[in-house]
C-alpha cells in the first residue's frame, strides 16, 4: 500500500487487497493519519475488496465522525466487482466513487 500526502489530501493507492485478512491493519494505519488531513482519496483500481474491506472503510469513516474530524473519504477507480459490491450494499451512498 502506498500513502502519499499532498497538502491536506492523503492519496492511498497500490492496495492489493482490502479484505477480511488485512482490514484491521488497513484501518489502523489510516486512522493514525486522520487528524492531520481533510480528504482521503483511496485508489481501488488494483484492489480486491470483500465484506471485510467494506467494514474497514466504514470503520474509518465512523472513527473520523466520532472524533469530529471533517475528513472526506473518496474512492477512486474501483473494479467492476468492487463497484458492484458498493452498489449492492448501498455504501456508494456513503462514499463518493469516481472513475478517473
Amino acid at each position: 500500500m502506498k500513502i502519499l500526502r499532498d497538502g491536506e489530501t492523503l492519496n492511498v493507492s497500490h492496495i492489493a487487497q482490502l479484505d477480511a485478512a488485512n482490514c484491521r491493519s488497513f484501518s489502523s494505519r489510516l486512522r493514525e493519519l486522520l487528524p492531520s488531513v481533510q480528504r482521503i482519496d483511496i485508489d481501488l483500481s488494483r484492489t480486491r475488496v470483500d465484506c471485510g474491506g467494506l467494514g474497514a472503510l466504514v470503520a474509518l469513516r465512523n472513527c473520523a465522525r466520532l472524533r469530529n474530524h471533517k475528513v472526506a473519504i473518496r474512492l477512486l477507480n474501483p473494479t467492476m466487482a468492487t463497484q458492484r459490491l458498493f452498489t449492492l450494499t448501498q455504501l456508494d451512498r456513503l462514499f463518493p466513487i469516481e472513475q478517473r
Partner: protein, 656 residues
C-alpha cells in the same frame, strides 16, 4: 482441479483468512474457463469470497467454535458448472451458525454483517445445511446462456437437498429427446454420462451426510426423551440415572469413557459419583490443594478443559492414572452459581478430538445431569425437612407434657401460667411442684438460646428440680444442688440457665425466693405499689459450687406475684421498641384489682403483649407464672382450663 464437460472443481483451504484470496482466485480461474458471463463470474467470486470468509471464521481456533483450538479442519470447496447451472458448495467442519430467517442489509454505519446479505443478493438459490460433521453452504446461479443443443441437456438437475430451485428455462426439445433416448435404450453420449455421474456423486454425498445427520439427531433426541421422562419424577437414585444418561452419551459422542464427580454439600472437593468402568475408583480431588488436575481446573475456571495429544494430562492427574493416552474434555457442571460437579468424557485414541456436534451433545447431557442432581438434592432435603419437622412435633409434645397440667389447690391463692416459644421447641419453662398441702415450689427458668438444645436442657432441669425438691424445700439449696448436677453438661457446651425458685407457704402467707441470674420476681401490693425481688445468685452452669441467697417475703393481703422470663420485657413492637420493665410494671400497677384471679391477670397480660407486638413474630420465648390471692368462694378449681399451655410462636399466641 479437474475439468470436464459438466465440470467439477474441488479445492481445500486452510482455516486462515489469508488463504481465502488465493483459493478464490483458483476458483475464479476455473469458473472463467467455463465461459461464464462476466456478471455471473463477478457474482460467483464475490459470493464465494464471503462464504469462505464465513467458513474460516467459524472453523478458526478461538472463534465461536467451542473447540478452542482443539480441532482445526480445512474448508472445502466443490464447484460444479454445466451449461445451465453453476453450483458452489463451501464445506466447513466448525460449529456452524444459525442461518437467519431474514437477511437484511445492516445499517450503513455498521462495520460487520454484510456477508450473508451479499451472498443472498448475488446468488439465485442459497441453502445452508448445518450438520453433525460438517456444515455445507450451497449457492447456485442459473446460467443465462441458452444452449439449445447442449449435450448435457439432461444433467441439469440440481444436487441440492433443499426445495427445488426456481424453475429454469430449459429446452423442451432436448429434454424430450433425452427421455426418448432413455426409453428407446439408446446410450447417451459419453460426455453427457460423465456429467450426470458427477452430479449424481455430489448428490449422493450430500444425501449421505444428511442421512447420517438425521440418524444422529434422532438418537440424540431419543436419549434426551428417555432422560426427560426421569426428570422431576422424584426418584433419588442419581447413580442409576447418571449411568443410563452417560452410557447413552458415550454412544452419541462416540466416546469411550466418562467420569462423573460431584461436590458433596458443604465440602470443597470433587468425589467420584459414577464412571463408565465400574472398577475405576478415583480418589477425591481437593478443590483447594489439587488445582493442577483437569477436573479441578474446569471447576474453578467454570470452563471446559480439553486434553489430548497436544495438551496431555498431568501425570499426577487422577484421570491420567485411569485413562492414559486418550483425549477428551472435562466439563464443569453448574446450576447458576453453584458448582455441582464435573463430567469428564474421553476417547482412548489421542488424535481424535470431539467434533462440535459431540461437544453440543455433551453440553446438553451435562445440563440434564445438573437438573437431576439438583432435583435429587432438593428431594432429599425435603425428606429430611419433613423428618426433622416430625421430630420437632414430638419434641414439642414432650415439652408440653412437662408443663403442669393443673395447679395444686391452695388455700387463698390461685395460679396461672403461660409459655410460648419462638420456635417449635424452646428453652423456657415453668413448673409448680407440690411440696405439702400448703406448700408449693414455683419454678421458672430460661435456658440460654432457643430450639432443640435449649429444650433438651429445659427437660433435664425440669426433672432435676422435681427430684431435688424431694430432698429439700429450701429454694436456694435446690438451686445449689441442681447447679452442681447440671454444671458439667452446661459448661461443656458453653450454655447456662437462669432460673428462679420460690416456695409458697399458703397457710403462713410466706414466700421464700431464690434467684439464679433470672429476672426479678415482681410483687404488686394491695395499693398498686410494684416491688421487684431479686436475691443474689448467678446463672446455673457458670460456677460449679455456686451459692444462692434466699429471701423470705411475707405476703400481705391482696398481693400478687409474677415470675417471668426476659422474653416478656424484651418483646418488640413494629417500631422495634421493647415492651420493657417500666411498661410491664406500669401495666401491673394499672391492672391490679382486688378481685382479679390469677387466670384473669394472666389472660389480660397475654392480651396486652399480643396487642403490643402486633404482627411481629417472636424473637424469644415468653413465659410467665402468676400467683394471686383468691377469695375463698372462688378458690381455684383444678381443671384442664387452669393448666398451662405451651404454644409455638404464632401471632395469635394461645387459645385456652
Amino acid at each position: 482441479m479437474t475439468r470436464s464437460t459438466g465440470a467439477t472443481c474441488r479445492l481445500s483451504l486452510p482455516t486462515e483468512l489469508e488463504a481465502v484470496r488465493d483459493t478464490v482466485a483458483l476458483a475464479h480461474r476455473f469458473l472463467a474457463e467455463q465461459n461464464l458471463e462476466a456478471q455471473d463470474l463477478v457474482a460467483c467470486e464475490l459470493a464465494l469470497t464471503e462464504a469462505c470468509n464465513n467458513a474460516v471464521a467459524y472453523s478458526r481456533p478461538n472463534s465461536q467454535n467451542p473447540l478452542k483450538g482443539g480441532h482445526q479442519a480445512s474448508v472445502h470447496l466443490e464447484l460444479f458448472c454445466d451449461a445451465h447451472i453453476i453450483e458452489m458448495h463451501v464445506i466447513d467442519h466448525g460449529s456452524g451458525f444459525e442461518w437467519p430467517d431474514q437477511i437484511d442489509l445492516p445499517d450503513s454505519s455498521e462495520e460487520h454483517g454484510r456477508g450473508l446479505f451479499i451472498i443472498k443478493s448475488l446468488m439465485q438459490d442459497v441453502s445452508y445445511l448445518r450438520g453433525r460433521d460438517q456444515n455445507r453452504l450451497i449457492m447456485r446461479i442459473h446460467r443465462k446462456t441458452m444452449v439449445d443443443d447442449s449435450p448435457e441437456g439432461d444433467a441439469r438437475q440440481s444436487s441440492g437437498l433443499e426445495a427445488p430451485a426456481p424453475r429454469r428455462r430449459v429446452n423442451n426439445t432436448t429434454e424430450r429427446a433425452s427421455e426418448t433416448a432413455a426409453l428407446s435404450g439408446r446410450t447417451p453420449p459419453p460426455e453427457q454420462l460423465a456429467a450426470v455421474q458427477q452430479k449424481l456423486a455430489l448428490s449422493e454425498h450430500v444425501i449421505g451426510t444428511m442421512a447420517k445427520e438425521i440418524c444422529f439427531r434422532s438418537e440424540e433426541l431419543a436419549a434426551i426423551f428417555r432422560s426427560t421422562s426421569e426428570l422431576g419424577t422424584g426418584g433419588d437414585d442419581l447413580a442409576a440415572f447418571s449411568d443410563r444418561l452417560l452410557n447413552d452419551l458415550l454412544q452419541l459422542a462416540s466416546a469411550d469413557w466418562f467420569v462423573l464427580r460431584l461436590v458433596p454439600k458443604q465440602e470443597r472437593k470433587l468425589v467420584m459419583a459414577s464412571a463408565s468402568r465400574r472398577e475405576v475408583a478415583l480418589p477425591p480431588v481437593d478443590l483447594v490443594d489439587q488445582q493442577d488436575s483437569a477436573e479441578c481446573k474446569a471447576a474453578l475456571s467454570r470452563s471446559d478443559v480439553l486434553f489430548g495429544k497436544s495438551q496431555p494430562l498431568n501425570p499426577a492427574d487422577p484421570l491420567a492414572s485411569a485413562f492414559c493416552g486418550g483425549c477428551g474434555l472435562v466439563k464443569p457442571i453448574f446450576m447458576g452459581e453453584m458448582l455441582l460437579g464435573t463430567l469428564a468424557v474421553g476417547r482412548n485414541e489421542s488424535e481424535c478430538p470431539f467434533l462440535p456436534n459431540h461437544l453440543q451433545v455433551i453440553q446438553t447431557f451435562s445440563e440434564f445431569l445438573a437438573i437431576q442432581t439438583l432435583n435429587i438434592r432438593l428431594h432429599q432435603e425435603h425428606l429430611n425437612h419433613r423428618l426433622t419437622s416430625r421430630e420437632l412435633d414430638i419434641a414439642r409434645s414432650i415439652q408440653e407434657s412437662l408443663l403442669p397440667k393443673r395447679f395444686p389447690k391452695l388455700a387463698g391463692y390461685g395460679l396461672a401460667g403461660f409459655c410460648i416459644n419462638a420456635r417449635q421447641v424452646g428453652g423456657d419453662f415453668f413448673d409448680v411442684v407440690p411440696l405439702s398441702d400448703d406448700k408449693v415450689l414455683l419454678v421458672i427458668a430460661d435456658v440460654m438460646g432457643k430450639g432443640v438444645p435449649a429444650a433438651l436442657f429445659a427437660a433435664t432441669l425440669h426433672t432435676l428440680v422435681r427430684t431435688v425438691a424431694e430432698w429439700t424445700h429450701r429454694p436456694a439449696e435446690i438451686l445449689e444442688r441442681v447447679n452442681r448436677l447440671i454444671f458439667e453438661e452446661l459448661s461443656s457446651v458453653d450454655m447456662f440457665i437462669t432460673a428462679q425458685m420460690a416456695v409458697l407457704d399458703a397457710r403462713k402467707r410466706r414466700l421464700m425466693v431464690a434467684n439464679a441470674g433470672h429476672c426479678p420476681l415482681v410483687l404488686t401490693h394491695h395499693d398498686g405499689h410494684v416491688e421487684a425481688i431479686s436475691p443474689e445468685g448467678m446463672p446455673l452452669g457458670i460456677v460449679a459450687e455456686a451459692t444462692f441467697e434466699q429471701m423470705p417475703i411475707s405476703l400481705q393481703e391482696h398481693v400478687s406475684a409474677v415470675l417471668y422470663t426476659d422474653g416478656l420485657t424484651e418483646a418488640r413492637n413494629a417500631h422495634g421498641q421493647f415492651f420493657g420493665q417500666n411498661r410491664f410494671f406500669n401495666w401491673l400497677q394499672q391492672h391490679h384489682a382486688l378481685d382479679k384471679t390469677a387466670e384473669q391477670l394472666s389472660d389480660a397480660l397475654r392480651a396486652e403483649l399480643k396487642s403490643f407486638q402486633g404482627e411481629i413474630s417472636l424473637s424469644d420465648d415468653q413465659t410467665f407464672l402468676v400467683l394471686a390471692e383468691q377469695i375463698s368462694d372462688v378458690e381455684a378449681q383444678p381443671s384442664e382450663a387452669m393448666g398451662a399451655k405451651i404454644s409455638p410462636a404464632l401471632n395469635t399466641p394461645i387459645a385456652q
